[in-house]
Symmetry: C2
Subunit: 305 residues, 2 copies
């Protein structure tokens, strides 16, 4: 089972309008209300691929109930911890004329010490049964930067950490197996523009491997077994939100099955591209995935070092 942790889970509300006009009243076409947050998106991709997955994190109030209800409807197992503060919403308004997205994101719920203590107990029980643990996204207010480090330190199985800034840097101390920053997160966490150097910097501070997702440019992986650049030969158009989460889903499956890095990374690039072709974050276009899998180019980049 792959456990995904989403401490800042959200209720993602999507609307469609012809065009967003500030100051106007819009009658919207509802485009769906779904459980969201990066770890939830990872679980959604894993579920679509037929893998056993379980979602945990916080989900309080009526928005938390809506998150749990939607996961249940989608057939995705969850063990979210109920807290007093309601889970955050995100409202994304997509223009049907030009495809642009206007997003309104609520802050996360304030998490109390008591909430955290209950979560950690739940986490221990779930992580002990997991093959891989994925920890994704920002931390809600009230949690310290080392929250992920505490969870990773208590985990005996493989961990993937996908977060940014101080929670990422603090998490390195607990030696996650893989960290997956995107290009901007890699640069801002390390202060280095040179990507291989930045990835090595993160490894020196505790990351077992660094898989940096570079958007249309594919992946850069710096691991104990080698360095690879992986790219998708075919441009894929669509919604890049959730592509990083699909990449993490592929990494989790690869770690769980013991795949070698080149095949694992090829899978991650194909699945990321398939997420771009999917309509919403957490959706993957399985036809695109299967078609691209054989065409992805994995290049040994040892010479970069």
């Amino acid at each position: 089972m792959i456990l995904t942790v989403t401490l800042n889970a959200a209720l993602d509300v999507t609307y469609r309008v012809p065009v967003v006009q500030p100051g106007a009243e819009h009658r919207v076409e509802p485009g769906g209300t779904r459980a969201g947050g990066k770890g939830v998106n990872v679980a959604r991709v894993l579920h679509a691929l037929g893998h056993d997955t379980l979602v945990t994190g916080f989900a309080g109030g009526v928005t938390g109930l809506a998150i749990r209800t939607e996961l249940d409807t989608a057939g995705i197992r969850e063990a979210l911890v109920d807290i007093d503060a309601p889970a955050r919403r995100t409202v994304t308004v997509v223009s049907t004329e030009d495809g642009t997205a206007t997003a309104f994101n609520e802050p996360g719920p304030p998490v109390s010490v008591g909430d955290w203590t209950r979560f950690v107990a739940t986490y221990h029980s779930l992580a002990s049964r997991a093959d891989v643990v994925v920890l994704s996204g920002s931390l809600p207010p009230g949690l310290p930067d080392h929250a992920y480090a505490q969870l990773i330190g208590a985990t005996s199985t493989a961990t993937i950490l996908d977060t940014a800034g101080r929670p990422l840097l603090a998490g390195l101390a607990a030696r996650p197996h893989v960290v997956k920053p995107n290009a901007e997160e890699l640069a801002s966490a390390t202060g280095l523009d040179d990507r291989p150097a930045a990835a090595r910097w993160l490894r020196e501070r505790g990351a077992g491997a660094v898989v940096a997702s570079l958007g249309a440019a594919g992946l850069l992986a710096v691991t104990g077994d080698g360095t690879w650049r992986v790219s998708c030969p075919e441009p894929v158009h669509g919604n890049p939100t959730g592509a990083g989460d699909a990449c993490v889903a592929a990494l989790a499956v690869g770690l769980a099955t013991g795949a070698d890095w080149p095949s694992l990374l090829a899978d991650a690039v194909a699945l990321s591209a398939a997420a771009v072709a999917g309509p919403l974050a957490g959706d993957v276009d399985l036809d695109t995935y299967r078609r691209l899998l054989s065409t992805v180019e994995v290049q040994d980049a040892h010479a970069d070092r």
Copy 2:
């Protein structure tokens, strides 16, 4: 007890941002999530004034649960009917820089014949115990134009109908005691620009009295006892959303207590102005209300006929 009927109740979500930028991602400051819809706003004003009120209508799904939970927290009694389709949301984003509101309104829930049958049974039981029944707002999808007429026809006590277009015109056949269009609704329902003539047109078709709310210009009332123009001598700045609902609340109290038209209308104008001074729809600034009550000018406009 004053019963308010909101067939298209909503969960009103308000956000604050410096400025709405289409295509951008906004971190919002939550400004509150409340039960909404015109009849709910009327009940909120009545509750603030200390009157016994009860909210009914439809509230399905997790958004319906959120509506009921918020009413319970606010101490407003409700007997909303649970249906399968979730209640609609409205998302209003207020600019803290210029005060403009950008609204995204979901369509109402599809109401089935079974839902309507269950509602009508509930309504009969509640309306038989009410002093006044207020029926407010648009009809959700699935309900015919004569839905309000059916409810009013089954009501032996005084009724106030505050809706627009075809549901208003169809409702007249059941002879509501008062209808309360705003200026635009009055013109569009009747096709007449002359307001006293338009009000008389509505009375000829079944309305006992017509109280037209004219924004900053106050009220025009055409009744079986006379015609009045009522205005507020002091301009009030703020949020006009909900001013019409506060006017209806005052009309309901006036009908329940048997007040004469001039005092009832003065109350309605003062309370509407107090709603403009309140921060959200359904809020009234009680200090403004008390201060304005003695200054409102009621003018006998019999000569207009």
